[in-house]
């Protein structure tokens, strides 16, 4: 009877304290598991959101471009449009004389301005004549300045009256209330740094002198004389450095009327008065020496509140847009002659070395051609291979071997396929380099295992009863497969194919191997033309040194993602079509 005790019902077993403890433990474990799950999903979602935010925030900048409106003289048979832009600029900014200023002016315009006119002339929509109002595309750096990529120009209104007196080529400005104190402070810091540098150099000279003097006791004759002369030279240099540093010290500690020079390694200070813009070159607390960048309408003094100090934090040396260009852009802006327009150019042009006229069209079309080749090869071959292996092939060592190899192939690094493509398709079969044909072939090889594996899995998932039903009716094996099994497996096959294609679409490495990285400005018209593809374009732009390619890289990534979404949407629609049939 003792052994029945253990299995006999015991009320305390499912309701006692031990049972409650077990229950609590189990519930805690479940709560923990749920929490881990939620944390994991939240992290993944956060990563995705921040990625998308990053891309689309930068893409937004590439969505528009800036234009300068001005008047141009266009002859009816004009063919040098670059010259048209230049002479229009020269006319608009007559004060920007001298080679350096001219270059600064031309640097505001993109080659795209001339291209636009050429295109319009070819289409016959270009208006000709004198003083035709035109919109000229800005250069990439000017565009970046307009977006505040080099810092915003800060305005400090001048509260007190400003007197302006000509001095040499520039003007002496006088006001009160320590208007230029900030600039003076910066200049002082700069001088202090300079003095410190001089003193460090001086210290090095002293060390040199000491070393030579120690060596002096061992030397005789002409050698000794040489060394003595050397020491003298070092001493002279040392004293000279000392004097220079001291002179800087006096400047720094000088009174509030000592004017200190501003350098291009400091923030730029401008004064806007009488419709012109002056750049400060020397400052004291209440006076400054300034050179005109945009000329004033008159050189008379102005009252308090009628002038302002403009500061651009980033030093001129650290930005591609120079002070002259800043002054002109600010003037144009205040005159309302700068327009921001949607950047359709990005979709209608191909790659270029100039970011503002670089577009995605070539790469987009290239990707389409490449994907077409990939799909046309990988899908039918993959599906046929899967059907054969799943439905017709005998089970033996040979088919096992094939199966293992297909699975392994799916794990081969993509660059290997690139090497294979280079060796086999390009070097052996003579497929044109960097063509969508070569790229598509390589990507098809890469996608094939994915398609085969997915297709086999979905063919295997078709219920055997369907096969029996068809065979039992006297359908042949082939009829069974093509009438019943394949349509039912199609949704799964399409899903697998789209995963493979998505992988192929984003693939860069193997395409670099077959030369699709080449700089190609033409839109490919067929699968044998030279072309590049979206991910390679992204790669190229990400490597480019021009800042303005930054946002275009993001935009190209956005286009790539969009391409992917469209591809997936097509697959989903196709899948629904197959499913809707039953």
């Amino acid at each position: 009877m003792t052994d029945t005790v253990q299995t006999s019902p015991d009320a305390s077993f499912h309701s006692g304290d031990a049972a409650k403890a077990r229950l609590r433990k189990r519930r805690n474990a479940e709560t923990r598991l749920r929490a881990y799950g939620i944390i994991a999903i939240t992290l993944a979602a956060l990563a995705l959101v921040s990625l998308l935010y990053n891309i689309f925030a930068r893409t937004a900048k590439a969505a528009s471009e800036h234009y300068i409106s001005m008047e141009a003289d266009i002859a009816p048979d004009e063919d040098n449009f670059l010259k048209v832009v230049k002479s229009a600029a020269k006319e608009a900014f007559p004060y920007a004389s001298g080679r350096k200023n001219r270059r600064a002016i031309y640097g505001l315009f993109s080659d795209g301005a001339a291209d636009d006119m050429r295109r319009a002339a070819e289409e016959g929509t270009l208006q000709t004549g004198d003083a035709v109002p035109m919109r000229f595309l800005m250069s990439d750096t000017a565009d970046l300045y307009m977006r505040g990529e080099f810092g915003k120009l800060q305005t400090q209104p001048g509260p007190n009256a400003l007197t302006i007196e000509p001095e040499g080529k520039g003007f002496t400005l006088r006001t009160s209330g320590d208007a230029f104190a900030d600039a003076l402070g910066l200049a002082r810091t700069e001088l202090a740094n300079e003095a410190a540098t001089l003193r460090r150099q001086k210290a090095r000279q002293s060390v040199g002198i000491e070393t030579l003097e120690k060596r002096l006791s061992d030397l005789t004759g002409p050698e000794r004389d040489d060394t003595l002369a050397q020491i003298e030279g070092f001493k002279a240099k040392r004293d000279q450095l000392e004097t220079k540093a001291n002179a800087l010290d006096t400047l720094i500690t000088g009174d509030r009327d000592t004017r200190l020079k501003l350098s291009n390694r400091m923030a730029s200070f401008f004064v806007a008065a009488n419709g012109g813009i002056l750049k400060l070159t020397e400052v004291a607390a209440d006076t400054a020496l300034a050179t005109p960048l945009v000329p004033m309408e008159s050189a008379s003094g102005v009252g308090g509140g009628d002038w302002s100090l403009r500061i651009l934090e980033r030093p001129e040396i650290g930005r591609p847009v120079k002070d002259m260009q800043v002054a002109i852009l600010e003037t144009l802006k205040s005159e309302g002659r700068i327009e921001e327009i949607a950047n359709w150019r990005f979709f209608s042009l191909s790659d270029s070395t100039q970011p503002e006229i670089a577009g995605i069209k070539g790469a987009l079309i290239g990707s389409m051609w490449t994907m077409l080749v990939t799909f046309c090869l990988a899908f039918p071959i993959g599906v046929m291979a899967a059907i054969y292996l799943e439905e017709f092939a005998p089970r033996n060592r040979w088919t096992d071997f094939v199966e293992v190899n297909i699975n392994n192939l799916a794990a081969v690094p993509s660059i290997v396929f690139g090497l294979l493509g280079l060796a086999v398709f390009i070097n052996f079969f003579g497929t044109p380099r960097s063509s969508p044909l070569a790229g598509g072939l390589v990507l098809a090889l890469m996608t094939l295992p994915t398609v085969i594996i997915a297709a086999r899995a979905s063919i295997r998932a078709v219920p055997p009863s369907i096969r029996s039903a068809a065979l039992g009716l006297g359908a042949s094996k082939t009829q069974t497969v093509f009438h019943h099994v394949l349509p039912l497996a199609m949704p799964g096959i399409l899903t697998g194919t789209i995963i493979g294609m998505a992988q192929a679409l984003g693939e860069t490495a193997p395409l670099l191997m077959i030369g699709m990285v080449a700089f190609i400005t033409a839109v490919p018209e067929g699968i044998t033309d030279s072309a590049t593809v979206l991910p390679v374009q992204v790669f190229n732009w990400a490597n480019a040194s021009e800042r303005a390619f930054d946002m275009r890289t993001a935009a190209a990534i956005a286009v790539l993602l969009l391409f992917l979404v469209v591809m997936n949407a097509i697959a989903i629609i196709l899948r629904k079509q197959f499913e809707r049939r039953w």
Binding site: I466, R467, A469
Partner: protein, 263 residues
């Protein structure tokens, strides 16, 4: 074996004559040297305990066993005097002559019309749409399904009830104009009412075709079949008219089984 064809009263012609039939699944000997003669225009029932080889034997008759890799069949199986395992018989063509209905209803995930029309279409039984419509309607009528589905022929066959699906499968099988209809436990997935409908249908079909049915229900065998074969562990133990099997069984094992003592 001990169930010679001559023991039966035979007003019907013999459709299938099977001699020394052996079936192996790899090393498993599933059918052991059986002889049987199956008559035309009547219903023959296969009964026996689970795993005794009823389905296996049934599948020999339309060579569905060919689709199982490890299955091996020996012996002579004559359909109208012609060996169905001989070289010049195409198994695909044979299956059009010997239709089959499975245990679980397995309509194609297509419309009711396409389900029934599929066989005639691939065998070229209809020259045009009108003829096909006719075949579909006749088959559905024969399967007693026409009145229930005539308004929704385009609806998916998988959307019907279990009993309707099974009758659809029967309609699909008879649409190819088979000479023999094999049914493997066609009622096992159905409720009593659906079973009754299908049983009536089988009885009617038995007047026109040679029907072979596997069943676990002795009452069913009794109700619808003219002859019954009792299988046990791969042996065809006893084969006689249904009345004889149920009223005066000869073998010990048959007596045990039909009286419900084992199985």
């Amino acid at each position: 074996m001990n169930a010679p064809a001559s023991a039966l009263n035979t007003d019907d012609a013999i459709k299938f004559r099977c001699e020394n039939v052996n079936v192996w699944y790899g090393p498993t000997h599933a059918i052991k040297n059986n002889d049987i003669a199956i008559h035309d225009n009547s219903v023959t029932a296969f009964i026996g305990p689970s795993g005794c080889g009823k389905s296996t034997f049934l599948r020999c008759l339309n060579r569905m066993n060919d689709t199982i890799d490890i299955c091996r069949v020996t012996g002579t199986l004559l359909l109208d005097g012609q060996d169905i395992y001989s070289k010049d018989i195409d198994p695909v063509q044979l299956r059009a002559r010997v239709g089959m209905v499975f245990q679980k209803p397995n309509p194609f995930p297509k419309s009711i019309y396409d389900n029934v029309g599929y066989g005639p279409r691939i065998h070229g039984l209809a020259r045009n749409k009108v003829e096909l419509d006719e075949i579909v309607e006749d088959s559905l009528r024969a399967a007693g399904l026409w009145d229930e589905v005539k308004d929704r022929l385009a609806a998916p066959g998988t959307g019907l009830s279990g009993g309707q699906q099974q009758r659809l499968c029967i309609a699909r099988a008879i649409a190819t104009r088979p000479e023999v209809l094999l049914m493997d436990e066609p009622c096992s997935a159905l409720d009593p009412i659906a079973t009754e409908t299908v049983e009536e249908l089988i009885s009617t079909l038995g007047e026109r075709f040679c029907v072979v049915i596997v069943t676990h229900s002795m009452q069913q065998a009794n109700r619808i079949s003219q002859r019954t074969a009792f299988f046990h562990l791969g042996d065809l133990v006893e084969y006689d008219t249904t009345d004889a099997i149920f009223s005066t069984p000869k073998d010990e094992r048959t007596i045990g089984y039909v009286s419900g003592r084992f199985g």
